[in-house]
Amino acid sequence: MVLEDTSYIFEGGNIYFLEGKNGAGKTTLGKIIMGLLEPNSGSLLFDEEDAAKIKPADRAKKIGYIFQNPALQIFAPTVYDELAFPYEIMGLMDESIREKIEESLKKFNLLEAKDRSPLTMSYGEMQRLALAGISLRDVEFLILDEPSSALDDDGRKFLVSFLKDFSSNGGGIILISHDEDTLSNIENIKELRLDDKKIISIEKSGKY
């Protein structure tokens, strides 16, 4: 049993930092919310609508997810193709989207790598690419599983600023992380701990 009879309300505009021992179920919880895993019982509601009645494609329009191992979600032959894929597949590619992708490449310091195969990228570069990918989609919520574990100093500063912008525009973020340096630079985070199969809210620990 990983999670048991636990409830929590995540609201837009907040950054939730979810901590807990290795193996406590943080990634599992993230995957359940994303729809990648089914719970044995209980319910998930998005704006009071039962998640079970929402098609996976529609859920993906609301929530962006970054895997702990970004290589699991990157599959296109080039960096540019990775960012262009959702628009190509939905027949939405046009000049304004191309400009949006170029902007994103610049913003995430991936412009020089745009024609490279993601397979030739370092782990940290792949993390940046995964972030760039979800930032292009107008999602309401982000679930980020160890998004900074391999980022360099510049990448971490950028991630912090990206998270602040996202939440100040009303987006909600669930951040699963053990990165002390990044966490200490994010203000007003809501600290949650997964302990003994339950989500527990922690009063400001003062650690971050």
């Binding site: 990228m121 782990y123 360099d152």
Partner: protein, 216 residues
């Protein structure tokens, strides 16, 4: 002692780093920092003798352990000289069970059974994963896999231990444990190379190498 001399790495036309030189004495910890894509992981692979000259990979320069060129060592010699914990533990964990993952190397190095069992118990305890002893590796979380990968490498007792972002996914309690393990391992007379972006990890280091823009 580890000596790296005039090491240059190119992938195709792109120079990753050039004329990199440093030494690491026994008992010392070297931390390596640098921008993403600057070649930190590639450097670890070269020092471990795992990256070779191929069609799109050009390596020049030398890496010596105690006077021996790393590329002249046999697989057996490499295993007892150097251990590498990969940045992504999924790339190195292959046994179905936790116990099998840890004893695989000692078993194949023909270590006697009693010593193998002692190393198994010792590394499980050192890495704080005794409770995972009977689990399948497929059931482990990312942080648990990082700890297992470390345990597996420590079971070989390499003289040079290389860890690539080892604390990145480990919970806060175990981070401190792992830092103590690395520090104690060096105090035992071994050398440790640690790729990290963590300020708290950097505190352990005797030396710091920053790689970036081909200048080091």
């Amino acid at each position: 002692m580890l000596i790296v001399k005039d090491l240059t790495l190119k992938y195709g036309e792109k120079t990753i780093f050039e004329n990199l030189s440093f030494k690491l004495e026994k008992g010392q910890i070297l931390a390596i920092k640098g921008k993403n894509g600057s070649g930190k992981t590639s450097l670890c692979l070269i020092v471990a003798g795992l990256l070779k000259n191929e069609e799109n990979t050009q390596i020049s320069g030398d890496v010596f352990y105690d006077g021996k060129n790393v590329y002249g060592l046999t697989v057996f010699e490499k295993c007892i000289e150097v251990g590498l914990v990969f940045q992504n533990p999924d790339n190195q964990i292959f046994s179905p069970l936790v116990i099998e993952e840890i004893v695989f190397a000692p078993e194949n190095l023909a270590i006697v059974r009693e010593e193998m069992e002692r190393r198994l118990e010792n590394t499980l305890r050192l890495c704080g994963i005794e409770h995972l002893k009977s689990k399948k590796t497929s059931e482990l979380s990312g942080g648990e896999k990082q700890l297992l990968a470390l345990a597996g490498v420590l079971s070989m007792q390499p003289k040079l231990l290389i860890v690539d972002e080892i604390t990145s996914r480990i919970d806060f309690e175990n981070k401190e444990k792992v830092r103590r393990v690395l520090s104690d391992y060096a105090k035992m007379g071994n050398s440790v190379i640690m790729v990290t972006h963590s300020e708290k990890d950097l505190v352990l280091a005797d030396k710091l190498l920053i790689i970036g823009d081909k200048n080091n």
